[in-house]
Symmetry: C2
Subunit: 251 residues, 2 copies
């Protein structure tokens, strides 16, 4: 944890999160934009007040961490907007980003009672915090919620296996192509994707260096497969070709 600063922005470590407010009225959860995509949709409208009473809303400014690797796992989190990075560190500061979490993602599943990863906001992140005891009670009362969580965990496992394949067996070019297509799913438009994270984040996610990421993107640009579309935006010009590259076809 020494010179992690050389690898990331690292404003983190001391959490710079505002205390947060208990969710005000009954309608809070029903108006939540992330509800459709999140585990909360396992709880029906009539019971939403139970849910709303169990959560604390929080706002995490960019660059601030809200889960610290190894800390006691006291809470679960549900992201309602923004993007966070989840990561693990080696003692010498090498970092692996294990995933980017956006609206609807549920965080905090841990073995034992300590988090096994860190989490830091990339842009401003809004999230709901559940204490463990409250969450347990919710699961007791709403079995559908528990089933939904199992479903979510299964999804994450599949994603993790894909990422292992990427990290263990794909070339830099294939990794970047895979990443771009993956980002497409989080995109609003058909071919324009938003990259709120820095090159350093992308590199730490793909198991590469920022130079290799930059060079690879430049190459794809030169080949007419992608184009700039403003700051932190990219346009995919040939997603089919990128998909071929991502799977290792031809080069």
């Amino acid at each position: 944890m020494s010179d992690a600063a050389t690898h990331g922005s690292l404003t983190g470590l001391r959490s710079c999160v505002r205390p947060g407010n208990r969710a005000g009225g009954v309608s809070q959860c029903s108006r939540c934009g992330a509800r459709k995509a999140s585990v909360c949709n396992a709880i029906g409208d009539p019971d939403l007040d139970r849910l709303a009473a169990s959560v604390v809303h929080m706002t995490v400014p960019p660059g601030c961490s809200f889960i610290e690797d190894g800390a006691e796992a006291t809470d679960f989190f549900n992201i309602t907007s923004g993007t966070a990075k989840l990561f693990k560190l080696l003692p010498d500061g090498r970092r692996q980003i294990t995933g980017f979490a956006t609206a609807g993602h549920f965080l905090g599943l841990a073995v034992g009672d300590h988090y096994a990863f860190g989490a830091e906001a990339i842009d401003t992140v809004h999230l709901c915090r559940f204490s463990r005891p409250r969450m347990t009670r919710l699961m007791d009362d709403f079995p559908r919620l528990e089933r939904r969580l199992l479903e979510e965990a299964s999804n994450e496992l599949v994603v993790a296996q894909n990422q292992m394949l990427l990290l263990g067996r794909k070339t830099a070019r294939e990794r970047v192509a895979t990443f771009l297509l993956e980002r497409l799913r989080n995109a609003e438009e058909d071919d324009v994707l938003v990259l709120p994270m820095t090159r350093t984040d992308i590199a730490d996610y793909l198991g590469l260096t920022i130079e290799t990421v930059s060079r690879t993107l430049s190459a794809l640009r030169k080949e007419g497969l992608i184009a700039d579309a403003g700051s932190h935006n990219l346009r995919l010009l040939d997603a089919d070709r990128l998909a071929d590259i991502a799977e290792g076809d031809r080069d």
Copy 2:
């Protein structure tokens, strides 16, 4: 899926599994050696007959696959003895082993209704097969089972994140050291570990080539950190030093 044969033993693809028998008597599950470590321990003795009636025992010979990537996910599996490898393939045959599953491991959690990985027996594997509908009914009737599964999935996620760190950021030497220590946990003796898998499997698990694995083991042997202990066995002579290496300390 073309020349995967160049990367692994690959007797697989066509499943060579014997049909299997319904678990005979009530006592089958209570005598199961894997019960202690498996999700089945969520179900109390009085209900074990319900459990036993829901499973089919199967024996999978070495080298045979019992889960095929992309196939319809009709069953869950619980390994009771032996070791299986879980893997994903790229179209050109590159393989990533995402994990080794031993007694107590629960397999088959999938997103949607298709498996996202393949599974193949390394040595002779004995397992219990649950059909999805039966499993769903069991979870309905035994909420503790469902909670246990969520716990298991959380564990797997933590393991997966560690593996991503390994694949994305560790050197060959660190990877091998990490692997050896990981194997130590599955070992019966304090310092002797069993490696039922081939070098090819280890390489595909660590994101390396068999040559690099072999060279790295030779180097550790030369340094007096490990020693041969018979076929497929290794003795760890300095686990502390290996732990340092695994985390990137000094060299």
